[in-house]
Symmetry: C2
Subunit: 189 residues, 2 copies
DNA sequence: ACTATAACGGAGGCATACCTCCGGTTCCAA
DNA sequence: TTGGAACCGGAGGTATGCCTCCGTTATAGT
């Protein structure tokens, strides 16, 4: 829809040679799973094993844990930004809640996302800002239309939702139910 | 108020000798801090160091990590149960929210509490049940009085709140604000 | 005071994670 | 086909955590 959205610049370059690209992608996929399952402290050697490459290959592509985390994380954030564009046509409240539900639904890195919400690193800050830039208009639309409370800000909403994202629930249904309750809390009565 | 509330049985016995009791208590205090700061994966050796005792002493008192976790955790839960009795005299909605705020406020083991909410272990189950037994009446009162929504159950509420407990916020004020929003979601409109 | 014994605490063996380094291998372009 | 650059991957040094074992020490009862 909007071609001018600046792509999140990943500082890690995708390699040139075919075998190297395969390994790069395998590492990224393995890391995504591992971070989702065990949080940001997941073992890098385990990730390399899972990807079917040596630990050396992991370190060549991603010299630090942060680099790997960023690569995974940026991908997720970018998806969220795209999702924000996709819901832009819906009625304000629906657009907001749809996007927030999608936010919760991104299971892959939800722990990383949550844990990173008040990290200080440069790239995390950039990613967070991109996400905020994507979501804030949705929220402000919902405020303007009189659906969302005026005495709440977007940061509150996002932290509330990401708290719930990270929480533990019996099943998907309960998580949805709880999310609905919480979203009700930001609705004008 | 109600003397019949069954005390949570801690299977770990407090030692007899004076020096041993001192160490036992120091370990418990150190463990409480460590679990609060680093979650359930905190290093046991670090805890022993912090308590000023050898690692052997830690293992003698708490043969497994689970034993130590239980000891800390049970203490916190018991405090919550007592708190539930204390608020029983307030108006229903106020009683519920006061207790839930207290629940959030117990910073010490909030991470452990949250992480344990769907653990399977026997003692964790017992503790959780004690906590539920303490809180459920408050919630049901609030439903009966027409303050709390009927289409929500206590488990939903507790998981919502504990999700927020575990979340990361800029400051206390924001956490309170977000909690207030979420609690608004369970209120009858 | 004295002794039986409960309790201490750290050395040490094992496991695992981090990260570097470099000999061997694979791919691609000419 | 082949040369060499790009790439691979794991050995290995370091650090840290887990847990056990046992020689030493402090305590409580007589």
């Amino acid at each position: 829809m909007d071609q001018t959205r600046p792509a999140l610049q990943v500082d890690v370059r995708r390699p040139q040679r075919a075998d190297a690209r395969r390994n790069f992608d395998a590492l990224l996929a393995a890391a995504r799973d591992a971070f989702a399952a065990k949080g940001v402290e997941a073992s890098l050697e385990e990730i390399a094993r899972q990807a079917g490459v040596g630990i050396g290959t992991l370190y060549r592509n991603f010299p630090t844990r942060q680099d790997l985390l960023n690569a995974v994380y940026f991908g997720e954030i970018e998806e969220l930004c795209i999702a924000a564009e996709e819901v832009a046509g819906l009625p304000p409240w629906e657009a907001l809640t749809t996007w927030l539900r999608r936010f919760v639904g991104y299971a892959a890195t939800k722990r990383a996302i949550w844990e990173s919400l008040n990290r200080e690193s440069e790239s995390f800050k950039a990613a967070r800002e991109a996400m905020y830039a994507a979501g804030t208009p949705l929220f402000e639309q919902a405020q303007k239309s009189g659906d969302a409370r005026a005495d709440v800000n977007f940061d509150d909403v996002l932290r509330m939702v990401s708290g719930l994202t990270a929480g533990s629930f019996v099943d998907e249904a309960q998580r949805d139910r709880v999310l609905a309750i919480a979203l009700d809390g930001i609705r004008v009565r």
